[in-house]
Amino acid sequence: MEKELKVGISDYKIGEAPQSLFTIGLGSCVGIAIYDPTTRVGGLSHIMLPDSSMFNGEKKIEKFADLAIPHMISELTKKTPKRRLVAKIAGGSSMFKNSLNTPQANIGLRNVAAVETILKEQGIPILANHTGGSMGRSMFFDLHTLQVKVRMGNREIFDL
């Protein structure tokens, strides 16, 4: 069993203690850790976009908040009951301080809003979050200690 699992952009991974999951370089993307504190089974998702319904054609499930989160939850509930799941989220910044005047500039905020809505619909409480601002983040989720750490672009570290 691999000790540390790296979650890439538009991907999610599931693990259990003593494994840890991490994802690097969340800009406007959002990282979502969902876990059961009792069994220490959990997953980490790195979504890029809020809503798959804006796009046609073949869609990568792991890319969109509205597809990735329910899929990750249903994988987790094969191992652990849904009612015990909790979440911590980080990311969704506006990296360029609105210097880029494109309609896509607020995508970070839209990602966070979508993630919050979907978790609410799924009945999963958000225990902690570290979102917004204009700095990148990496997220480290230790399933053994259940600690979620966020490391900012300037190397500052926060415990969620």
Binding site: G8, L26, M48, S93, M95, F96, L100, G136, G153
Partner: protein
């Protein structure tokens, strides 16, 4: 054929940018053959630059017939080296160093665009570069998305500069707005056929 045109574009632009860079820092700067390739994020982070790398970057928005953004990226320690070559020792004056860095990128990008707009007859205007210090992974993914590119497969266009045989690890990326390159290439090939 189309990739050849883009490579040509960035050879000419990058060559001129290298010349202006060497004048600024008073040392010979050379440019490698531009990288023009399609790859996904994991290939980019494994093969070109780690997503965790702390970098200094300057972003310049481009409007007109070539819409998109230029991203000049240099590792934190190399940025200090570059600025001290330009200014002499700055004695840790961060503001001065940042403004010198922005000016340097402004000159590189505008030299680049002047050169290609003369050869290929494209009209472009540039915004003022703005600086950002962060992880490479967060910067590059966010800038592609802000250009409306949501694919996993990225079209990477990159010039790399080196000086005195050392890798300077300074790169200039062009991130085209979604669909812009197709339009531009169609325009150029149609002109040639006529």
């Amino acid at each position: 054929m189309q990739l050849d045109i883009i490579t040509e574009f960035f050879s000419i632009g990058g060559g001129n940018a290298a010349t202006s860079l060497s004048q600024l820092i008073n040392h010979p700067v050379v440019m490698t053959v531009p990288l023009v390739e399609t790859m996904d994020y994991s290939e980019l982070f494994e093969g070109i630059m780690s997503d965790e790398s702390s970098v200094n970057a300057a972003i310049t928005m481009i409007h007109g017939e070539l819409e998109g953004a230029f991203l000049f990226v240099i590792r934190d320690d190399e940025a200090d080296k570059l600025v001290s070559l330009m200014l002499g020792e700055t004695q840790g004056d961060h503001e001065m160093a940042a403004s010198a860095f922005i000016e340097l990128v402004n000159i590189i990008v505008n030299t680049f665009l002047n050169a290609i707009s003369q050869v290929f007859d494209v009209t472009v205007t540039t915004g003022i570069p703005f600086m950002i210090e962060d992880m490479f992974g967060a910067i590059i993914s966010s800038i592609y998305m802000e250009q409306g590119v949501y694919e996993e497969n990225l079209f990477i266009i990159k010039n790399e500069f080196s000086y005195l045989g050392e890798r300077l690890d300074a790169s200039l990326y062009f991130i085209p707005k979604q669909g812009v390159l197709d339009e531009l290439l169609n325009g150029i090939t149609t002109e040639k056929e006529n």
